[in-house]
């Protein structure tokens, strides 16, 4: 509705509004990592180092300086795009994140797609038969899904589908040994493989994705299905649906064009929250499936007090979160003409 420039500027303004939160994240992460009990210098120095070499390393890492100074240094590095080196993996954090992020995103996207594909029809089905057995069954299924700890679901799936039945490929990360990862375009193996027409690799990557994605999808079914149901119910009872019915529109048009498009708005908001939540929940699933994503990276980093890695991880997640919210805002304005970006 607004001219493109004003939309651009409002996006810029939105980003500006997110800056305080990002700064907050930087400060909190910095303080939190410094509060971690481990001594990175001691860790960095290796198993048999003496006090002197630890002190040397502490100095070279800048850890001997007062906290405010360390923070300023950290900010300066950030401003230059430097996230430092991870102690435990020995790689630059930025590089590591860039390499691992697509793995997490591919898994998260695929899981959410899967979840949406199940949850939305379920929600609609429940909303069109409220109080009926099918409604209760849907509620039961999605609630059961969200009640299982993801690590438990993951292990159980591996046990049943890989170990006992042998249906799933070995839970060894993104691709089996037999395949070479496709050249990076998007970083998503399935898409990259398809881009070069390598169906076999795409299929193998998809097969690897299946179990972890199901694990995550099971967990995310509930919020999506519930929100779909609730907002469908609300929309279906609204007056314009009655108008549409009274005008003799077919059931499909009423349900799809009229009801669902209106009901989808809160579902998108939920999807945004679920997305960021899932990225966080990846932590546990990636551990189970040896998935080389940023979640498992973060856990390892946190456990060994790897400052730079933890900071980089949290910061990139926060940036992702801000970007995601922006995308949702924009999506919203595209779907709902009543909402302007600059409200």
């Amino acid at each position: 509705m607004a001219a493109p420039t004003s939309r651009l500027s409002t996006i810029a303004r939105r980003l500006g509004q997110a800056l305080p939160a990002l700064f907050g994240v930087i400060v909190v992460t910095f303080l939190l990592t410094r509060a971690l009990p481990g001594d990175p210098a001691a860790y960095f120095a290796g198993p048999a180092a003496d006090a002197k070499s630890i002190a040397q390393i502490r100095e070279s890492l800048g850890l001997d300086r007062p906290l405010p100074e360390q923070f300023l240094l950290y900010l300066k590095d950030l401003a230059r795009g430097e996230m430092g080196n991870s102690i435990s993996t020995g790689q630059p954090v930025a590089e590591e994140l860039i390499r691992r992020l697509p793995a997490s995103l591919e898994l998260t996207f695929f899981a959410l797609l899967l979840s949406l594909a199940i949850a939305v029809p379920m929600g609609v089905l429940a909303a069109t038969h409220p109080g009926k057995p099918i409604d209760h069954i849907c509620r039961f299924i999605v609630t059961a899904g969200v009640s299982l700890p993801t690590f438990f679901t993951g292990l159980a799936l591996v046990f049943v589908f890989y170990y006992l039945l042998g249906w799933a490929p070995s839970p060894l990360g993104r691709l089996d040994f037999a395949y070479v990862s496709p050249p990076t375009v998007t970083g998503f193996y399935v898409i990259d493989a398809l881009l070069i027409g390598d169906l076999e690799t795409a299929w193998a990557a998809l097969a690897q994705l299946t179990l972890p994605a199901i694990t995550l999808a099971l967990f995310t079914l509930a919020p999506l299905a519930r929100m779909t149901r609730a907002s469908m119910l609300q929309v279906l009872s609204s007056e314009f649906i009655r108008t549409a019915r009274a005008a003799g529109l077919s059931g499909a048009t009423v349900l799809g064009t009229y009801a669902f498009r209106n009901a989808v708005l809160p579902v998108i908001t939920t999807l945004g929250m679920v997305f960021s939540f899932t990225l966080g929940a990846n932590v546990l699933v990636e551990k189970v499936f040896a998935w080389p994503g940023i979640g498992s990276y973060a856990v390892e980093a946190l456990v060994v007090s790897d400052y730079a890695a933890v900071q980089g991880f949290v910061l990139s997640m926060a940036v992702l979160f801000v970007a995601l919210n922006l995308v949702i805002d924009i999506l919203y304005t595209l779907i709902d003409p009543r909402i302007q970006l600059d409200d």
């Binding site: 971690l36 481990g38 001594d39 001691a42 860790y43 960095f44 120095a45 290796g46 198993p47 048999a48 180092a49 006090a51 070499s53 390393i57 102690i87 435990s88 993996t89 020995g90 790689q91 590591e96 691992r100 292990l155 591996v158 046990f159 890989y162 170990y163 039945l165 042998g166 249906w167 799933a168 490929p169 070995s170 839970p171 060894l172 990360g173 089996d176 040994f177 037999a178 395949y179 070479v180 990862s181 496709p182 050249p183 070069i196 169906l199 076999e200 690799t201 299929w203 998809l206 097969a207 299946t210 551990k287 189970v288 499936f289 040896a290 498992s296 390892e300 456990v303 060994v304 007090s305």
Partner: protein, 540 residues
């Protein structure tokens, strides 16, 4: 890297077998002949052992991709498996070596045919550069070199193209074995120097991600956090070529998954399996398990002398009598390993190491001992364990907790994250009672005592301080084992350790690896990392 499948055996059949993601297919089948797939639980973080922060699993790069001047021999264990042989030093890059007449230097003659994987010959200059690097970069490599009395670059001299000399600061039995550990590996200095900069004269950045060695394998692919792919170095001269062309080391953090993989035959080896899995997998068809007791390593319960009650020897002995050894061995180690309790005599009869201490579970005796102290009503103490080693430490700690409760010592179990363990247990030495797992690479009791019983030394997390022990260790550390003075002194050392028990040994652990019965050539090494140099595959 060729982007096609580098294992492109039967593409068509693979495709037809994979029409459904859930359709069963075996990766071991998909992996072609000549490839061995190994899963490990930890992650490799560098290709350069000398770099600061390089973790232990990464040491295998040094073993598999680099050579040293000398190496240890191989022996067959009673169960038929292979182990390195500490007693035999054999040539590696050096075809021969001798001590100079004055005993102050070692002269090494390099093999004429030794070449790096890029084809350039291995020269004394390369050796000199590599050893200089090992002592100059500081950190663990320097410490390990120091154990062999190798402390400064001036000691290393490239005499000519193929002759290398080390000037000794003292004669020591440790020097030659220390040259066979993973640390002093020989780097292709020409390649490395090309990538050295003013700020980084030792090319740490380059060697962190690249291998420039003469070893049995080259690294063709490294996806940190995921996998490492070794490819056989066809120009390797230091031994017979490995039986497999390619080794894929895949990192799988979940122990359960690793077990499932080996059990289902999807991988050729699971390196470093838990005691429980080792015990159970051994009974499965198609899987063989090799469990080798780790030399010079003991799992201990350490009472810290910095904590007042444990300054009393009788309290420590009382604790040693309350530990339910049998149960711990059964529950925490699943019977894998060598018992370190129930020794027959209060003083050692031989100098074999490690050997059982003269303690066993005896609550009455413990109570009696405790009654002689001012702690007869017991006391409270936290019992700390390392979270990364929780698989054995946690059950052990729980059983110890129960045992101690019987004599009135109340414990609370503290789980300390792996990262903090080192600084709290070893550096600050502030854990009053904890479990410990030190093992020495060089297989001498005096070497163990040097690290674990001397005041201020890193692994002496008990804060033990005994001038006599210090004196004995100092005398024996560099002394040849054949020296007649050696055995009596070691016996005395052990006697003190038995009596004072600043470390209460539980058992000598094993290094367990499970492998498909087709895989051959697995060899145990003191460094407890994968040695892929002798691997082969039946029917490959």
């Amino acid at each position: 890297m060729d982007r096609r499948k580098f294992i492109k055996t039967a593409g068509a059949t693979a495709l037809s077998a994979n029409v459904l993601p859930f359709l069963k297919f075996s990766t071991a089948e998909a992996a072609p002949a000549g490839t061995a797939v190994v899963v490990i639980g930890q992650t490799l973080n560098s290709l350069d052992l000398h770099r600061k922060g390089t973790n232990r699993p990464s040491y295998q790069i040094s073993v598999n991709c680099y050579d040293r001047l000398v190496s240890f021999g191989t022996k067959k264990m009673p169960d038929g498996s292979l182990s390195y042989d500490y007693s035999v030093l054999k040539p590696d890059l050096a075809e021969s070596w001798e001590q100079t007449a004055d005993g102050k230097s070692l002269i090494f003659k390099l093999r004429a045919d030794a070449v790096f994987s890029d084809g350039s010959p291995v020269t004394a200059a390369d050796v000199k550069w590599s050893l200089d690097r090992a002592v100059s970069l500081g950190g663990f490599p320097a410490v390990q070199m120091k154990a062999g009395s190798l402390i400064k670059p001036e000691q290393f001299v490239a005499v000519d193209e193929k002759t290398f000399k080390i000037d000794l600061i003292r004669p020591s039995k440790l020097t030659l074995p220390d040259l066979a550990v993973p640390v002093p590996f020989i780097i292709n200095s020409k390649v490395a120097k090309e990538h050295a900069t003013k700020d980084d004269p030792w090319a740490t950045e380059y060697l962190h991600r690249n291998v420039a060695g003469s070893g049995a394998y080259k690294v063709t692919r490294w996806d940190p956090g995921q996998q490492l792919v070794y490819e056989r170095n066809e120009k390797w001269t230091s031994g017979p070529l490995p039986g497999v062309k390619r080794v894929i080391v895949r990192e799988v953090p979940s122990g359960a998954t690793r077990r499932a993989l080996i059990e289902r035959g999807d991988v050729d080896m699971s390196f470093g399996v838990s005691d429980k899995d080792a015990k159970e997998l051994a009974e499965k068809k198609g899987v063989s398990v090799v469990a080798t007791p780790i030399e010079n390593c003991i799992y201990c319960l350490c009472p810290n002398l910095g904590f007042e009650p444990f300054q009393d020897k009788k309290v420590r002995q009382a604790v040693a009598f309350t530990v339910p050894y049998e149960e711990i061995f059964k529950v925490a180690a699943y019977g894998q390993g060598v018992p370190m309790w129930g020794g027959k005599a209060a003083s050692p009869t031989d100098i074999s190491w490690p050997q059982p201490f003269p303690y066993s579970t005896n609550i009455e005796k413990a109570k009696a001992l405790l009654a002689e102290t001012k702690y007869k009503d017991g006391f409270e103490v936290p019992l700390s364990i390392n979270l990364s080693l929780a698989s054995w430490m946690e059950p052990a700690a729980l059983l110890i907790q129960e045992g101690l409760a019987k004599v009135g010592i109340k414990t609370t179990i503290e789980k300390i994250p792996g990262a903090n363990w080192r600084s709290q247990a070893l550096v600050e030495k502030k854990l009053p009672l904890h479990l410990e797992n030190f093992g020495g690479w060089l297989n001498y009791p005096d070497y163990y005592f040097f690290w674990a019983y001397l005041k201020g030394h890193l692994f002496n997390s008990s804060n033990y301080d005994n001038p006599e022990v210090a004196k004995l260790v100092d005398e024996t550390l560099h002394m040849e084992v054949s020296d007649p003075a050696y055995a009596p002194k070691i016996k005395r050392l052990l006697e003190i350790a038995f009596d004072d028990v600043p470390r209460i040994p539980l058992w000598q652990p094993t290094l367990n690896s499970a492998m498909s019965s087709k895989l051959t050539g697995y060899e145990y090494w003191f460094h407890r990392q994968l040695d892929a140099r002798k691997l082969g595959k039946v029917g490959a």
